[in-house]
């Protein structure tokens, strides 16, 4: 089984816009799954509704395309009925944090053996660019034409507080690190949450002076601060500059998981 076999060839090229980060994240996920040598019959991809959730349909393994925000609820069911199945959840920021917020925190609390990949593109891309709970403050969207006035969600802190076993954040520019994080997340018993910041040149970049996909990737490259450096700065009393964000591995712990088969 090669890497190309994990893609569903008859569905490609996919429907994502030119330069959409979701395709990159799909590459990283399938590469991590391929590197671990999982059997195609023992892997299930579950996704909700949104741009990000189309990703499950482009894999040749079994995939569930479920109702809006309820991907984690369906994944819990799959995992508990078939505990040997490797369940990977693709979800977006609107799917995971807005409508599926309660499912998300309770999946973290139960610590079910899932790998959740949240493709955070800062906006509701598929429905026309409405502001989501992860839209950064001051960004212009269809529903916030004078700039977003609300504070965005920090999904990694939320997952950490709710009790997930592995929490990491990367961007679609850091592909090697992202692949490694997904591989570690798949091997970790318990819920692994990986937030990936993805570029959305069509709905988000168009209104925020980041029209070209390369501009948004450049923005990720310049604004990402590694966790080690952020910790050093915090110890020295230097606050994080506005507009920058921390990337890296936040939590790796061994809380008792649910849905793991005892040998």
């Amino acid at each position: 089984m090669t890497l190309e076999d994990w893609y569903r060839q008859d569905r490609l090229p996919h429907i994502y816009c030119a330069g959409c980060g979701n395709g990159t994240i799909l590459n990283a996920t399938l590469r991590a799954v391929d590197a671990l040598g999982y059997d195609i019959n023992e892997t299930t991809f579950v996704s909700g509704i949104g741009c990000s959730s189309r990703a499950g349909g482009y894999t040749s393994a079994d995939s569930l395309h479920t109702t809006h925000g309820r991907a984690l609820a369906f994944a819990t069911g799959v995992k508990l009925v078939k505990p040997k199945q490797h369940v990977i959840v693709f979800t977006g920021d609107g799917d995971c944090s807005a409508i599926g917020g309660n499912h998300f925190i309770h999946a973290c609390r139960r610590n079910i053996d899932l790998t959740v990949i949240c493709m955070n593109n800062n906006i509701y891309g598929m429905t026309g660019g409405q502001g989501s709970p992860c839209t950064p403050k001051g960004s212009i969207t269809t529903t916030t034409p004078y700039g977003m006035q609300e504070q965005p969600f920090d999904l990694c802190k939320l997952a950490e507080a709710a009790g997930a076993n592995y929490v990491a954040r990367w961007t679609s520019f850091h592909v090697k690190e992202l692949t490694e994080a997904i591989r570690v997340g798949l091997e970790t018993p318990g819920l692994a949450f990986i937030e990936v910041l993805a570029q959305c040149p069509t709905a988000y970049g168009n209104k925020n002076k980041l029209r070209q996909p390369t501009q948004m990737i450049e923005m990720f490259k310049n604004n990402a601060v590694k966790k080690a450096k952020a910790d050093r700065d915090a110890a020295a009393g230097i606050p994080l500059e506005p507009g920058k964000f921390i990337v890296g591995e936040f939590v790796r712990r061994a809380n008792p998981p649910m849905g793991v088969v005892k040998e």
């Binding site: 030119a18 979701n22 395709g23 990159t24 590459n27 990283a28 592909v175």
Partner: protein
């Protein structure tokens, strides 16, 4: 090994032009089969993976393939070396 861009999949986002350490991918100017302006390859024989994959027995670099959102970049086996007639100008 040879670097190829699948013209049926590429959507011309030019992300590969900014990640390649050798700047092999250059922004194109002519539309391809599907109407997207796809990047052109500038001396692709410089690519690390093309040259050294057989020697090391594993994938090297591969940033362009990883970041390509449309799964358009791949490496194909080349035919064995064929002698070519080269005209040398004195």
């Amino acid at each position: 090994m040879k670097l190829v861009i699948n013209e049926h999949r590429c959507k011309g986002c030019n992300l590969c032009t900014m990640v390649c350490p050798y700047r092999i991918f250059q922004e194109g100017s002519k539309p391809g089969i599907r109407g997207y302006v796809i990047p052109v390859l500038d001396r692709p024989e410089r690519c690390t993976n093309c040259r050294l994959q057989k020697v090391y027995g594993r994938q090297l670099c591969g940033m362009c393939q990883m970041i390509c959102p449309d799964q358009a970049i791949s490496w194909v086996e080349e035919k064995p070396f064929e002698p070519k007639k080269v005209e040398i100008e004195y």
